[in-house]
Symmetry: C2
Subunit: 586 residues, 2 copies
């Protein structure tokens, strides 16, 4: 069975596609959902309101439920050893019978990354709705996870019926092609969810955020608007992606040797601009790094990324091509130690070398928590003598999220009756709330929610309902959901002070130690470590002997040994490592 066979590309929704010209023209459309004064729409964010990450929201009206986005979050240093963090979607599983569809607004992992896990946990193949680009990326992940799914392609402008909901998709600009927002009509009222967006007046693919659609939804009545808060604290307008293209072209024009550009692998518009700038300067494009290769393949296949075969060179075929004739697009913009850029910087890349005078562009911003890692790579490159450009030096990156002025503009167009800022930490949500208030939204109708809160929308307005089970689930190696905060605390304790282990065999009746007493230490510092270990062995042996003489046994025996070792270590190192003690009674 080929990976393709595992996917069922169907259109469950029989969408009615509107042309852009029609959307604004107010042409024929479904009659809309008849409002029912008794109906209640529950809006339940399960993720996305405590962090930029793991976005997931439930929309539930009577017996129908939709899920918008199913993302993950990458762990920070506070979560040692954890691979991924998922939202706790117990509520979705408990109400699986109501679930009519999963809508994915765009292909970023903070909106798609939970899907493979959710799909395995659901007992049936709930259809997943997204644009061609979004589904292309999801399909790639599903193949890796060997997950089968029903993928239903929609286009911006489509309207579909899902249970009692009518869902309209509208185009938005974002740092990935094929991003949409959704307008959901239910018997209880209408909700507009912007998804992640910005307002780019000169988008690379010519697709603008659909102002016409927003105006139309406004006219139909938006009872609740949910909008992207990521950049609510940034004043002004986020610059157009096209600005970055101009900068890249100028840098490449003036570059003498190789040009190496690290960026987000899903930022297809950026990759398009890099490729265009390379070709315009008579350079070939080289793609390296696993996700960069994967995503450019998908995007080219689906028609989102236009690079001619003749303009591409495989990294393995680079020999013979002069450095000044290539632009290398690679992963590693976050300073990941195993990424292509880090390997290039350390001289460990199999096919790409780097020399003094080469140019490196970090065409990205460090995700919070990655600042130091990125700095480390940038400094390595600077030491080699490369010209390094990051966003501090030139406009080689712009955000994909709307700034304060854009957010206010959209609020002014939509004029929502109620407002709920989403996609951000508490500070972002509060900053966005202030913007909404500034555009005239009644502060009593602005809802600051946390994950697990329930908002209930009905004819009577919006109010808080009963919260549901929510939280986070750690993915750690093969294990999903088994790693507790306790395990993480153990790991943190281990990493701060190390661990000492005691192993000894005793005969309690004879009151004697049998064989050697073994003390091992890992991650413990303090003077001469070998000497400390010898001393520790003596201390434990002495303690053990005295305790046996007194007739101590069992757990008490282990406790006195542990305490004696801890005292010694505290005295010698002023630290309290973990101590594991196994006294075997024969």
């Amino acid at each position: 069975m080929t990976p393709e066979d595992q996917m069922e590309q169907e259109s469950f929704s029989k969408p009615r596609t509107r042309n852009a010209s029609k959307t604004t023209g107010g042409t024929r459309r479904r009659a809309g959902v008849k409002k029912n004064p008794a109906a209640k729409l529950k809006i339940i964010p399960l993720g996305g309101l405590d962090a930029i990450g793991k976005n997931m929201t439930v929309f539930e009206c009577g017996d129908d439920m939709l899920l918008v986005d199913a993302g993950l979050m990458f762990p920070d240093d506070d979560h040692p050893g954890i691979d991924l963090i998922l939202p706790d979607y117990t509520y979705v599983l408990e109400n699986e019978h109501k679930l009519r569809g999963i809508i994915i607004t765009h292909g970023h992992e903070d909106h798609t990354g939970s899907l493979p896990y959710l799909m395995k946990d659901l007992s049936r193949k709930v259809p997943i709705y997204g644009t061609k680009m979004t589904l292309g990326l999801i399909e790639g992940k599903f193949n890796e996870h060997r997950v089968k799914a029903k993928l239903a392609e929609i286009k911006a402008g489509d309207e579909i019926k899902l249970g009692g909901f009518i869902v309209d998709f509208f185009a938005v600009n974002h740092s990935i092609p094929g991003a949409v927002g959704v307008f959901m009509q239910s018997a209880a009222g209408n909700v507009l969810h912007t998804g992640d967006f910005k307002l780019d007046q000169s988008p690379i693919d010519g697709v603008h955020t659909d102002f016409g659609a927003l105006a139309r939804f406004s006219k139909m009545g938006v009872d609740l608007m949910m909008s992207d808060s990521t950049n609510a604290q940034n004043p002004n307008f986020t610059p157009s992606e096209a600005e970055v293209g101009r900068t890249l072209r100028r840098i490449i024009e003036n570059a003498k040797g190789r040009v190496i550009i690290a960026s987000f692998a899903s930022h297809i518009h950026r990759l398009q601009q890099i490729a265009d700038a390379a070709v315009a300067n008579g350079r070939k494009v080289v793609v390296t790094g696993r996700s960069m290769v994967q995503n450019t393949d998908i995007a080219r296949r689906l028609g989102y990324l236009k690079i001619q075969d003749v303009d591409l060179i495989d990294a393995y075929d680079l020999k013979g091509t002069p450095p000044e004739k290539v632009v290398i697009m690679c992963t590693g913009s976050q300073g990941e130690p195993l990424s292509a850029l880090a390997r290039i910087a350390n001289g460990e890349h199999r096919t790409i070398q780097i020399d003094q005078g080469d140019t490196v562009i970090i065409s990205a911003t460090p995700v919070p928590g990655n600042e130091k890692a990125v700095t480390r790579v940038v400094n390595s490159l600077a030491k080699i003598g490369c010209e390094v450009y990051d966003k501090k030096r030139a406009m080689v990156h712009v955000s994909g999220h709307a700034g304060a002025e854009e957010l206010k503009l959209v609020l002014s167009i939509v004029q929502p009756k109620h407002f709920m800022p989403v996609h951000g930490e508490s500070t972002h949500l509060r900053a966005h709330a202030r913007l909404a208030e500034a555009t005239g939204v009644d502060p009593r109708k602005i809802f600051l929610c946390e994950n697990g809160d329930t908002l209930e929308l009905s004819e009577a307005g919006v109010r808080f309902g009963e919260p549901v089970e929510s939280g986070i689930v750690y993915v750690d190696g093969l294990s999903v959901g088994d790693t507790s905060r306790d395990v993480l605390d153990e790991r943190q304790a281990l990493s701060n002070y190390g661990i000492a282990t005691i192993a000894a065999a005793v005969n309690v009746r004879k009151k004697q130690i049998e064989g050697p007493v073994r003390v091992e230490m890992r991650g413990i510092t303090g003077g001469d470590v070998a000497q400390l270990r010898r001393e520790a062995g003596e201390t434990v042996k002495g303690t053990l002997r005295r305790a046996l003489d007194k007739g101590t046994k069992g757990k008490d025996l282990e406790k006195v040994c542990r305490d004696a070792l801890l005292s010694l270590l505290w005295e010698r190192t002023k630290q309290r490592p973990m101590v594991v003690c196994a006294i075997i009674e024969l």
Copy 2:
């Protein structure tokens, strides 16, 4: 003996103080150092060129050696359990007999923090030169460390003779009072070291960076200039500290409840502005957090911080004072989990509470690596419903370091023959080098150094000499210099995957296991952990029995057990924890 007795406040230098008016007037001064064509001045940076931190530079001419600054660095997540990082100053100790004095440019810990350790390692009390503020802060640290020292106060404008050197101190603006730069004349040539600085045209204490002195040094000839690269990547001028005062005053004016302001405890100018804004708005000042209390005490005693007793309330006497009548200055601007601000935010502060509607100002910028910690505190405060201002929202912080335009201005005034950017990571140094080139410094005369490099200045110019021993030394609990990268790697491995321990007693002759086989796990995840542990015990027991049957013993016996447990854990968790195995042969 009181702490004060431990200090000997002397003036070894018999400095000639110039008034500001005299400095620019070209008045009487020492004849200068007679140049000797055979003389060689070695400039050896031991720290400060790989990071913003642990600044330390050796200046050595014949039998005379000076040390400028002796700082430390705070460790990041890459150094689990480490308390502090010092530069390796072996070279200083090896040449101790030449050391005529230690010059400290200002009181920040990245310039002073190594001093207690260095003082303990030196066999004699080498005098430490600094301004009153600088020495006041050092004295505080020395008392904590029970270190005795010779502290020699200098003033900006002073000129002192130290061995064959003549050293001039000149005032610079920085984010701490009493900051100076130094101009050193030696028989081999003259070096200007800016220290950390900015050009503030409206400084809080009225002390400007001494342009007159810079012009005078330029006229005397600056053979090598070393200058602060921290903000070389920031275009334009760094705003004046006074701008922050205006913002703080406006926020406090409009605040309804408590105002809590977290800042750097050594940023006395900032604290002055906070206090002034509080008093101007009829509020009392409360100081909390250990270093904040210490530093305000020192700065008030030395006359750098002017707050009247009547305007201060002790945190313990707050009861009865209405919230809208206080401004609380506290530590915690870096999100430190045990700081005053974090404790206030978590409702764990003994005397200060916080309520919805209170205002919190983070009057600082996160030091790289602290971004997430700060964000965590800010989000906690936002959730309480506080108005939180950080530098994203208002100009509540400005840097203490010169931006690109300031750096170029100083380069233009000084017109150095050779240039060495200091105080920064590779990227900062390189950015500063580009600025120097832009102001007309010959690129062949710009020296990009690493810690441990030696520059040799003589009549013939500047060239690289033999590098010296350098590097970093970890302070870890009581231990200085004993913690190796190996220990840190062990800690990191422990923190990623945890550890499993095996303890068993065997009789090799009888080929049998004596007593129970004990397997313990810490920081290991994977399904049902209790179940995994049972399984691990069975696996080890079975392996051990089979190995004994085959006559395996000693290290081999431990190896097969370790391997068997690792295989099981890999299979169950796809992780490779550390395994410590102790098989006791009876």
